[in-house]
Symmetry: C2
DNA sequence: ATAAAACGCAACTTCCTGGTTGCACTTTTC
DNA sequence: GAAAAGTGCAACCAGGAAGTTGCGTTTTAT
């Protein structure tokens, strides 16, 4: 059987999560509450602009969605891409598990 | 309840996976077979050195382990960190799920 | 109607990343 | 023992990422 090469978007997904600030933003938003940029910047030692950039990265990865409400733009968590990541982890884990099984069978012989 | 901020190493784990080349290397190695740098470089359009650098990144993240055997260094998949990633995804998903539950309960009232 | 809040855009800086090349070193192989 | 295979190390380069500052625009509040 062919080894399935992971899609390019899977890598970008991981890359979007590969930053402490973004990870923390996503963790906050995962409680289902919608937050503005100012709200997400409060309590951070970063600039509002920096937070904005990170949010755009998360949005491009599909992990977050934004909509303008009045003068502020609200961001919300979007869980769908998480499944893609799980799918990759599962495929890797399964291959690894299969290898272990074969190894055990071989040793027992 | 406090929102648990993800550890800094979780971010580096994601970062290590946030590259197509590294993702592909890890996918190959996840079949349990040990491979040399030359073996992993074969079939790639990249230099052996580039592959080496990627392998070092994976190794620092703990996703791979290496050992010198004669003149070549063998790399093997290391599944433990995968659980850390799953743990993060689960925590995020659970928070999200809880939020949905509360929302449904509220609407039904 | 003014002031303040919340944001977008753009320029700029700094640092990291992905990648290459060149060379030296150690093991194998013939 | 000489050639070839497999690496490691260091320098170097281009481009992208993270972050800041400055300024203009649109809403909201007083």
């Amino acid at each position: 059987m062919l080894i399935e090469t992971p899609g390019r978007d899977t890598a970008s997904l991981f890359a979007a999560l590969g930053d402490r600030t973004r990870l923390s933003l996503l963790t906050k938003l995962s409680d289902g509450q919608t937050r503005s940029i100012a709200g997400l910047s409060a309590g951070t030692d970063l600039t509002r602009q920096a937070i904005t950039k990170h949010l755009r990265v998360l949005e491009e990865a599909g992990l977050v969605i934004s909509s303008k409400v009045g003068r502020e733009s609200q961001f919300a968590f979007r869980p769908e891409p998480i499944d893609d990541i799980r799918a990759y982890l599962d495929s890797v884990s399964q291959q690894w598990g299969d290898a272990l099984s074969r190894l055990r069978a071989f040793v027992k012989t």
